[in-house]
Every structure is written in structure tokens, then in C-alpha cells.
Amino acid sequence: MMSRTNIIALIFLIIMGLYPLFADSAWLAIGTTFLVFSVVAFSQDIILGRAGAFHMGHAAFFGMGAYTTAILNVNFGWTILATWAPAVLIPVIVSFIVISPIIHLRGDYLLVATIGINIIFLQILENDLFGLTGGPNGIFGIDVLKVFGYEFFEQTHMYYMSFILLGITLFIMKNLDSSKFGRAMFYVNKDDVAAQSMGINIRYYKMYAFAIGAGIAGAAGSMFAVQYSAVSPEAFDVLQSIMFFTIVLVGGSASLPGVIIGTFVMFVLPEIFREFETARYLIFGLAMIIMMILRPRGIWPVKFGNIPSFLKKGKK
């Protein structure tokens, strides 16, 4: 028998899979970005929702993936396919280097330090370090994916590529949740003293969360760069990080449907209400406050108790 979460996931995947049949190209573009942003939101959720690290600089890892693809493709002529592996690995490596000295910081201190990392990353982009990043204008003219002579340049192609990426992300999330590593993150999150007394190395599992989160965000960044054929610094600024942070908390930390709903509410709804252009972020801000007051744990909070069925004997 399928669990409720699996049924919901299946329905969601079917709807998203059929979406290109219904949408015109403008809506398809929004749909594509929605998929990419949900992937980033999931990766943020691994760090924030699961491992419980107050991380408000996730756009930096997202941007690292995007810039890796852009730089390798435009400056060095790599094919898009060849840039995928570095677009995942570089954010992972950077996360090891920059996060490990600050991983021990508590709560709000980590939050501010990660904002700092995001800002430093942005400044490296804007100042065109080593002449690679294109400064404030970013990098243009990124190629499309070419495999065996086929060019995947249409909006529908972009959409399904992002769709597959989301599928892979969900697969990883599911595997993570049902492993020692996913559980350890929750233990660290809920009570770090108890967790370490159970033999859990807090540092290791927080870093593990950051590394996986950074890698997935990097993959999403690569997709984002190809989708828009351009990358520029302000797409990866702190405000963007704040958006990913908020998506997770508004939707529901560590909850798969929650994060999807969060992305929808925080990204797609503002697109739908573009007509109310001027007032929409005002309403949006109000909605954030009201939402937190009414549902402080998110729209769709996580439900624990995901254990093998042979252990579920009780009725209580």
C-alpha cells in the first residue's frame, strides 16, 4: 500500500508532467523556474529544515552552480553537459571550505555569517575576480544543451530538463530521509546535546547537510543559467537567499509537500498577481506575517513517524 505522501507526490508529478500541454510559452517559462526554484528550496530545506542550521546564504551555492556552467561554457568552450559535474562539485567543495570554520556558530550567528558568505560571493562576482565573472553585467550567451547533435533549446525542453532534475532531487530526499544520515540531521536539529550523547558527530552531519544542499543547489543553478542563457550577480543576492529561507519556513520545514507549496506561494503567486504589480509585495509581506501567526510551523508541517510498517503495531 502506498503512503499518503507517496500518493501526493505521484499526483504532483503527474500534474507537473502534463503541465506543458496546458501552458503557453510564457507560463511554461514560469513553470520551469518554479521547478528550478523548488529544487533549490529542497536543498535549502536539507540544511535549514532537516539539519536545523540557520542558513541564509543559499543563493551563493545556487549562483556557484550557475556561474560554473556559464564560465566553463562561455569562457572555456565546454559543452553544457560537461559543465554539469563541476557545477555540482564546486559548490560542494566551496561549502566545505567556507562553512566548516563557522559550522559551530549557533542560531542567529550562523545566520548572519551565512548572509556574509552570500555577500562576499556577490562581491566576487561584481568585481570580476580574475576576469572570469563578467562583473555586474554577468555572463551572456550561454549555450543550450546539445546531445548527439540534438539541440534542446525550446522552452518545453528546458521544462522537462528541470522536471527531471526535480525528480532526481526528490529521489535523493527520499533516500536521505530513510537513511542514518537523514535521521541524524533531525536528531541534531531537535536536540543537539542529546544527539551527541547518542554518538552523533554534530559537525559532520551539519557539514553533510551543507554539502548535499550545496551540490543540489549547484545543479539547479546550472539549469537556471542554461534556461536564461545569462547569469548576473543580482539573481544570487541575499534577497534571493531570503526567499529560499522563507519558502521553507512558510511551506513547512522538512516537509516535502510543504516546500513545494512554499515555492508555489512565494514564487508562483506573485507571478499570477503581476497585474497588481505595485501593491503585490506589500500584500505579500502582510501574507508572510499573517501566515506565521496562523501557522507558525508552516502551511503543511512535517509529520514524523516514518518507520517500517512491521513496527507499526500500536493503535495509540
Binding site: 510564457a26 545569462a230 548576473s232
Partner: protein
């Protein structure tokens, strides 16, 4: 499952019919400009100017018997937003895009328009805008290098500056202009004693200016935008630096005077002739119509440049009786002396506008301009 497929096909079909139906009657013209953000007043002027001209064309019976419709996308002067706008306007199936104001936002969108065979005309002045030689792109202003040559000549030959400081922000446009000006000054035999950069939007430029003060320059040239230029000028005088202040083309905006306050007086601007100084009747008529419709003047000459880009495209459509962008482009590449409101419009093979001239203006006590070059 079968029902779902049916519904999907039905919806897809109706979407197709709706879009196909709407595409026939009108010709869409895109505007990609910074409607909000730092350069909002320039962006809004461009949008207003385009809408004014299009209203006039529609009132006269439209283009090839069809009405024109404007689709505006706000790029906030940011590259990534510009890339999103490009996708959006292409999806809207516009014939041509007017804009954007900044070179960066223009360049970020260029490739998408080129790939989708959409015409684009912009006032961006970065040399790099025409380096790809995209057949879809037409610059309606001038290249930085042309301005740089003029500036250097004025500094060294006419004013005889000995110690020149060149400042830019970090945008590729301003850095490009600053580099060209520095190079041109040295070619003319002048000396740039310091080339500095400021971070746009930081408001506090005293740190760099204090350093400059110790060098005792006789001219400070700023290649960036008016939002920073006005403040640099004000802070320069506060710190008691006596040097002349000369702003590049992007300082030419009423907000420069407001930001600089009393310090604006005596500032020099180097730009293409500003709207008030344009000798052409068409320009005077445009300014009058614009003022009548919007109750104020356009922010600067850039809106007029973009309007000329639009007019040239409209002219080409009329002449070729075609909506095929390649045909229009071929025609435009050979366009000679089309009477625009900023003077005759002619394009080179790479989409570069030719025959542009510059003036040096000095800001007077009442914030009006006076031409001071020979």
C-alpha cells in the same frame, strides 16, 4: 487517465486558438526598460516616448493596416531581469524591442532576441554591444569610443588639463568608457594621474575623494550614472577639492542637479545634444507632444534616441511592406539619413549608428545648460 488526456488536448487546442487568433490583428512592439529601480526616470521616459509615437501611428491608421500594441517589460536595469524580459517579450511574439537603457541589460538580452529573430534597438553605448554583429541589433546612440575621443580632445586641447582623475563605477559601460577616455587622453598627450572606481549606490564616496584630494587634480571625470555623479560632485566640494567636474553622457539627467544641489553649478557634461538643443523641428514637435501628454519633459536625450530607433524600424516596415525581421534588418543596414528627431539616422553593417556629434555643456546657476565647446 483517458479523460485527462482528452481534457489536456482540449485545453491545449483552445490555448492555441486564442493565441493564434490574437496574433493576427496587431503588431506588437516590446519595450524593455528600467521602469523601476535606480534608473526608473530614464526607463519611464523611454516607455512614454515609445507609447506616444505608437499612439500617433495608430491614430494615422497604423502600420500596414494593422494597429500597433506596446508590451513593456521592466528590467530594473539588471542583467538577469533583462534576460527574463527577453524571454517574456519573445514569448509575446513582438516584432521589435526598444531598449534597454543600460548597456548591461541590453547585452544580457541580445542573444535571446538574436536566437528568436526579434529586432532590438537600444541607446546602450558600450562598444561590446555590436561586437557580436547580430543582425537583429541596432544601436540608436553612439559608441563609447567616439565619446572618448571627443572628451580627450576637449580636455587636452581646449582646456589644457594637466592632472586628470578618471572615476567610474563597476558597470561594464562605465568601466569601458573610463578606459577609452584614459587611453584617448594619453593618445592626445595628456596625463591621467589616477583612475579610480566607486561602488554604485553606496552614497558615501568620501573615502575615494579624500584620496583624490591629496593628488590635487585639476579635473575629475566621472563616467558612471547620474545617481552617483550628483553625490560625487556634492561631496567633492564639501571636501574642498577645487577641480572641475566633468560628467560623461549618463550624468545628463535632472536628478543630477537635485542631488548635487548648489554644487551642480559649474559642472560640465559631455553628451550628445540634449533635447533642448536639438535644432530639428521634429524634435521640437516631439518635445511639445510629450510635454502635453505627460505634463513633463523626457528625462534626457536617451528617450529620443530610442524613439528614433523605433521610427527607423517602422519606416523600414513601411518601405519593405514586410513583417519579416530579416528583410527589415537588411533594409535598415543600408538606411541612410532617415530624418530622426535626434538628427539623421544611418546604420552601418554591424548595426552601429553613424554620424553622431557631441557637445560640452556647463550647468548654470539656474541649472540650465550652456554649450561651452568650440
Amino acid at each position: 487517465m483517458r479523460i485527462l488526456t482528452k481534457v489536456a488536448t482540449l485545453v491545449a487546442l483552445s490555448v492555441f486558438l486564442v493565441t493564434a487568433g490574437s496574433a493576427v490583428d496587431v503588431i506588437k512592439i516590446g519595450v524593455q526598460a528600467p521602469i523601476t529601480g535606480k534608473y526608473a526616470n530614464e526607463g519611464q521616459s523611454i516607455d512614454n516616448g515609445v507609447r506616444l509615437v505608437i499612439d500617433q501611428i495608430n491614430a494615422d491608421g497604423g502600420l500596414l493596416g494593422k494597429q500597433l500594441e506596446v508590451v513593456t517589460c521592466d528590467d530594473e536595469g539588471k542583467a538577469q531581469k533583462a534576460a527574463i524580459c527577453a524571454r517574456k517579450l519573445v514569448n509575446e511574439k513582438v516584432l521589435a524591442v526598444i531598449g534597454s537603457y543600460t548597456s548591461g541589460a541590453t547585452e544580457a538580452a541580445q542573444t535571446t532576441y538574436y536566437r528568436n529573430k526579434t529586432l532590438q534597438t537600444s541607446d546602450g553605448t558600450s562598444d561590446s554591444l555590436t561586437k557580436h554583429k547580430y543582425w537583429t541589433f541596432f544601436r540608436n546612440s553612439f559608441q563609447n569610443s567616439a565619446q572618448a575621443t571627443f572628451t580627450a580632445n576637449y580636455f587636452v586641447k581646449e582646456k589644457g588639463y594637466k592632472k586628470i582623475v578618471v572615476i567610474s563605477d563597476y558597470s561594464s559601460y562605465a568601466v569601458g568608457l573610463a578606459d577609452s577616455v584614459t587611453k584617448a587622453i594619453e593618445n592626445e598627450g595628456g596625463k591621467v594621474i589616477y583612475q579610480g572606481k566607486i561602488k554604485s549606490g553606496t552614497q558615501n564616496f568620501t573615502a575615494v575623494l579624500t584620496k583624490i584630494k591629496s593628488m590635487n587634480p585639476d579635473a575629475i571625470y566621472f563616467s558612471g550614472y547620474y545617481t552617483d555623479g550628483g553625490l560625487i560632485r556634492a561631496q567633492q566640494l564639501q571636501l574642498g577639492i577645487k577641480a572641475d567636474f566633468i560628467g560623461g553622457d549618463s550624468n545628463d539627467n535632472p536628478d543630477f542637479m537635485k542631488l548635487a544641489g548648489k554644487s551642480a553649478e559649474g559642472t560640465y557634461m559631455i553628451n550628445f545634444p540634449t533635447p533642448d538643443f536639438l535644432p530639428y523641428d521634429a524634435a521640437k514637435k516631439f518635445m511639445k507632444d510629450y510635454n502635453k501628454k505627460y505634463g513633463k519633459d523626457p528625462a534626457s536625450v536617451w528617450a529620443l534616441m530610442n524613439v528614433d530607433g523605433l521610427s527607423a524600424i517602422v519606416h523600414a516596415v513601411r518601405e519593405t511592406k514586410s513583417l519579416d525581421t530579416k528583410t527589415i534588418s537588411n533594409y535598415l543596414h543600408k538606411l541612410k539619413d532617415f530624418p530622426g528627431i535626434t538628427g539623421p539616422v544611418s546604420f552601418r553593417e554591424d548595426g552601429e549608428r553613424i554620424n553622431t556629434k557631441f557637445n560640452v555643456y556647463q550647468v548654470q546657476a539656474d541649472n540650465s545648460y550652456k554649450i561651452v565647446n568650440k
